[in-house]
């Protein structure tokens, strides 16, 4: 102890210097937006490259489960394909839209989750695609089971995303049978359950009802599954229902996800922002 104190005292100038510089850098990062972005992007690039190598090992243990998920997804897609009515008279119904540039609104990119957490109250995950693959902040992230999150920041090869399991991340949602609009928000307790907020008391609900995305915020397409109603109680204010939902995605074992690019997002957002009521 005495030696430690002597050491600290001998180099006190240097330690004072370190403390003051750390204070300054903390001030810089918390007060200057540009420096903050650079810091977050560098950090996510560095963390990404470390966690990717550890994730490559754990991939082998998940292969079985991933195969099953992919088989299930294939099955569903094939069923969709067979159920599509193929008309014999192909002249009457052109199968391809005349203007294909406008008709493709959503563009999907597969990515692998290389770091993930469910234990915090604000959970983030990192994927192995970044700006060089065309990932941008505010894109939606889904997997075959439902909504997973939104991209927060992007470095060259990696991107961090805000999970639905993040108490400050709300997803615009809809109760499927009644078509009522609400908001899904995680309460920070159980990684398999979240809350559906702002559904008024006049809506008739049943256990097991599907909760889907509204498609209003241009991040997620319409009618993606978020979860299923698991508990219904009147809230203390007697104004809304207190609805618990079982999330359809198993966040504890995220492996492969799709990042959604909405080609019309800029157009839609610019329309929202040009609202004269919002301008000061």
């Amino acid at each position: 102890m005495g030696q430690l104190l002597a050491f600290l005292f001998k180099f006190r100038a240097f330690f004072t210097f370190l403390v003051l510089e750390i204070l300054c850098i903390w001030l810089i990062i918390s007060n200057n937006n540009y420096q903050k972005t650079v810091f977050i992007n560098t950090a996510s690039g560095l963390v990404g490259s470390i966690t990717e190598s550890s994730d490559e090992i754990s991939d082998y243990f998940e292969l079985n489960k991933v195969n099953k998920e992919l088989a299930a997804e294939n099955e569903r897609l094939r069923a969709l394909l067979f159920n599509r009515e193929v008309s014999l008279d192909s002249i009457g119904q052109p199968l391809i839209d005349p203007d294909t540039t406008d008709s493709i609104q959503y563009y999907l990119r597969t990515a692998e989750v290389i770091d993930n957490s469910v234990a915090n109250s604000r959970n983030f995950f990192i994927i192995n695609k970044g700006s060089r693959d065309g990932i941008e902040p505010n894109m939606g992230v889904i997997n075959s089971l439902g909504v997973v999150g939104k991209i927060r920041s992007v470095s060259h090869r990696y991107a961090t995303a805000v999970s639905v399991l993040n108490t400050s991340n709300a997803v615009s949602a809809r109760h499927k049978t009644s078509n009522r609009l609400g908001t899904v928000q995680w309460d920070g307790v159980d990684p398999q359950k979240a809350k559906l907020l702002y559904i008024t008391r006049d809506v008739e609900l049943q256990l097991g009802d599907t909760v889907i995305t509204s498609g209003f915020n241009a991040i997620f397409p319409k009618a993606m599954t978020i979860g299923f109603v698991s508990s219904i109680e009147p809230d203390p204010n007697q104004q809304y229902w207190d609805i618990g939902i079982d999330l359809s995605v198993d966040f504890g074992s995220l492996e492969y996800v799709y990042v959604i690019e909405n080609r019309q997002k800029i157009e839609k957002d610019s329309l929202v922002q040009s609202d004269p009521l919002n301008q000061q």
Binding site: A13, F17, E21, C24, L27, I28, Q35, T42
Partner: protein, 171 residues
């Protein structure tokens, strides 16, 4: 001692307003700024310890930062300068040694000594400042030319101001 204290107080009261009100808004060729406020920390007594020096640097830097809307950047660079200053002073000690209660200015130790003393410190300060501002080495050459030009301008201003307004002769 009292005379030194008066010189430093007046320096502080004049240099800081000049820096935040006038010099912040000037940029030569859009590259060169003038960090005249560094003259104040450079003139601080030679005997001043590390901790006090860095404390003063932090406060001063933050004042400049608040006005320049660069919270923390001036402070970080100035703390770096004040951390290195005692080491540098030990290296460039004049032949006769430092006299007690004498400020390290041109009037006391001569122009050449002052340039040797202030030059490297100012260059390091501006390098730290501009690389922190650019947050990395992305715009390496622009940042480097900014730092170089700013150091030269700052030094020229510091020397001119000392010849024009500071008392001559040994204090």
């Amino acid at each position: 001692m009292n005379r030194n204290f008066a010189i430093l107080t007046i320096s502080f009261l004049v240099l800081i307003p000049v820096q935040v009100l006038v010099l912040e808004h000037m940029a030569l060729f859009n590259l060169g700024f003038c960090f005249l406020y560094l003259l104040f920390v450079l003139l601080l007594p030679v005997e001043l310890g590390h901790s006090k020096g860095m404390g003063i640097a932090l406060g001063l830097g933050l004042v400049i930062d608040v006005f320049a809307a660069t919270i923390g950047i001036h402070a970080a660079a100035t703390v770096l300068l004040m951390f290195l200053r005692p080491f540098w002073l030990r290296v460039i000690i004049p032949r006769s040694g430092f006299e007690v209660n004498v400020l390290p200015s041109i009037a006391n130790y001569g122009l050449v000594w002052f340039i040797v003393y202030a030059g490297p410190l100012v260059i390091l300060h501006t390098l730290a400042f501009f690389f922190l501002e650019a947050a990395g080495s992305g715009l390496f050459w622009i940042t480097l030319s900014k730092a170089g030009l700013t150091s030269v301008i700052s030094l020229v201003f510091m020397i001119t101001i000392q010849y024009l307004f500071y008392p001559k002769g040994k204090s």
